[in-house]
């Protein structure tokens, strides 16, 4: 068990990366700016000659740029491996998929675990607090760098869906289609509350060292694991947990009358917590959850969500999952009502499943059919009947 943390360095992560903003700082919503800043990303497929077949794929809170190939940290398959590839919903024979690590992350893009070039020490809590808008602004700079004026689509689940919405709102002329999946136009009070539990767990761990654990040669393993355990429950559903574990006992036939992991569900959660700690930075968890908490598209538009999309040319496909209680269908419906009020072109599908919020990462044929159908229809409007 590695109890120390090395600063994150884009060069060693094993994906494409670029350092931007040397002469042109990245302005942040907090009023601060970053110069320079790093964006690490992965691409799949090829950019066509017209440079108009790019799909920006935005990852969720604990995701990363390795969407369709094994993570160099865990060796596990990419988080959307089954959806990306030749002939798959995000067809790499047709589309150029770009998946950047978010600003504030810990897989090569600038974040608290990166070394501050000015001080030569890890940023830790001196890294500026970032927002979903800042993440998107950094991604827009990446597209400038790649020479892509307009995305065919921006697609993302959960926090990735927030970015898909922010993109459509901030850069409507640069997005042809937006697909927010299992997302919302604002983070709810309940979701902020869960995030706060996670953050408090991290900060209560003495090994967090006021955020300076990298310099102290420690790692807040217990705090981050508890944060993950609490969050992981919110990604599932009561039905899914019951189906998977019920009240089954873990490698034993009776209670131990102690506080060991008697139940399979406890053992499972403990495993989720401890394996997460090996691949994720605790401070990055603080920063990214904060960015999600601050997300409220309506607030930036006088409290009227429809104004965030006034006269939008973007085609939307909103997808929710029936058993998702973290980003429930009601939030998607609220978004759809606002899009209707803005006379936007919108499709909205609730996928029937008992797998909870995490369904967007799982094999859900109805969801995949919806995604394919929408992209197909959008491609027809973008390029006519022929292929791109």
């Amino acid at each position: 068990m590695d109890n120390t943390v090395q600063p994150v360095d884009a060069e060693t992560i094993g994906s494409e990366w670029v350092r931007l903003g040397h002469d042109d700082p990245l302005p942040l919503d907090s009023g601060e700016e970053l110069s320079p800043f790093t964006v690490a990303y992965r691409t799949y497929g090829n950019l066509n000659e017209a440079r108009d077949n790019a799909i920006l794929l935005c990852h969720a809170l604990t995701g990363d740029q390795f969407a369709a190939d094994p993570s160099p940290v865990t060796g596990k398959a990419g988080w959307w491996q089954m959806l990306i590839g030749p002939g798959r919903p995000l067809d790499t024979d047709r589309f150029f998929i770009i998946c950047p690590n978010v600003l504030g992350g810990c897989m090569g893009s600038s974040g608290p675990a990166e070394v501050n070039p000015e001080t030569g020490r890890p940023w830790a809590l001196t890294f500026p607090v970032i927002t979903i808008g800042d993440m998107v602004r950094a991604q827009a700079r990446l597209l400038d760098h790649l020479g892509i004026d307009q995305l065919f689509a921006v697609v993302g689940g959960s926090m990735g869906g927030m970015q898909a919405l922010q993109w459509a709102s901030d850069y409507p002329e640069r997005v042809f289609a937006s697909v927010p999946i299992a997302a919302a136009a604002r983070h709810s009070a309940q979701n902020i509350a869960f995030h706060e539990v996670g953050r408090q767990a991290i900060m209560a761990d003495p090994d967090w060292c006021g955020g300076n654990y990298i310099m102290q040669g420690t790692k807040p393993r217990r705090g981050l694991a508890v944060a993950r355990m609490a969050a992981h429950i919110t990604y599932l559903s009561e039905a899914a947990l019951h189906r998977k574990f019920g009240r089954n006992l873990q490698n034993r036939s009776e209670f131990t009358y102690g506080f060991d992991a008697d139940f399979q569900v406890e053992s499972y959660l403990r495993h989720q917590g401890s394996s997460f700690v090996d691949r994720f930075d605790a401070n990055a968890y603080l920063y990214i959850t904060r960015a999600m908490d601050y997300f409220d598209l309506a607030q930036d538009h006088g409290g009227v969500l429809a104004r965030a999309f006034a006269d939008t040319p973007v085609r939307f496909c909103v997808i929710s999952f029936s058993s998702d209680w973290l980003f429930p269908t009601a939030e998607s419906r609220r978004l759809v009502h606002a899009l209707n009020a803005a006379a936007a072109n919108v499709s909205f599908v609730e996928v029937e499943t008992d797998k909870g919020h995490d369904a967007f990462l799982l094999d859900e044929p109805e969801f995949h059919d919806t995604l394919v159908g929408f992209l197909e229809g959008a491609a027809e409007h973008r390029w006519g009947g022929g292929a791109s």
Partner: protein
């Protein structure tokens, strides 16, 4: 909502849907309320080049539509029309769905607020077969057109063609065009407002406009 009218042979669009489509100007903006599996929307998009959107109550219908590349949302005619801006569409279409709504009057008003025109088709409960069923057997009609028994039909607000015209008068809605169809789905050559239409028409399609 399940459309009440039967489908024709495989792949052939229901005749009433084709007549509905005929009332729509090519290239216009269309909202199909209760669009089912999207047959009419797809046809309008393909044959008439309209910019089409749909609302459908059943999720299965919505998924079919979106999987086929149509812009359709899951929603309810009774509650979700109010979100759309006034005059957002040239045509708001409601096929065979009006009797299934909780508030037909409000729905009709919303259609004509959202669309410059509304195309509304309704089953006629004044049809002679319905009258006979009630008069001779004393039973609610079940026939080749009204296929569901009273306890399973989606229709909760029954009206005759005459009733419908009364409502249009009440709401200052002008009927610009009316097609009355017989039991074979063919247009009858009768005045759409007359007693004969109300007796012989199994369904009717109206092009409506605010007066």
């Amino acid at each position: 909502m399940t459309p009440q009218a039967p489908f024709l042979d495989d792949g052939v669009m229901r005749y009433d849907l084709r007549l509905t489509a005929d009332m729509v100007t090519p290239g216009s903006r269309v909202l199909d309320v209760g669009c089912g599996d999207g047959d009419l929307l797809a046809y309008l998009q393909r044959e008439k080049g309209v910019d089409g959107r749909g609302i459908e109550l059943s999720m299965a219908g919505v998924r079919t539509c979106v999987s086929n590349g149509l812009s359709v949302i899951q929603g309810d005619a009774d509650t979700d029309l109010k979100d759309y801006p006034t005059g957002a569409f040239d045509y708001a279409i409601l096929s065979q769905t009006l009797p299934a709504t909780h508030h037909p009057r409000e729905v009709l008003q919303q259609l004509l607020r959202i669309g410059r025109w509304a195309v509304v088709s309704i089953p006629n409960f004044g049809h002679w077969k319905v009258r006979l069923s009630l008069a001779l057997q004393g039973e609610m009609p079940v026939n080749e057109f009204l296929t569901d028994a009273w306890w399973e039909t989606a229709n909760i607000h029954y009206c005759t063609l005459r009733d419908f015209h009364h409502l249009c008068d009440l709401l200052d809605i002008r009927v610009e065009q009316g097609l009355v169809l017989n039991s074979r789905g063919r247009a009858l050559r009768v005045p759409p407002r007359g007693s004969l239409a109300n007796l012989m028409g199994q369904q009717a399609i109206f092009l409506l406009r605010r007066s």
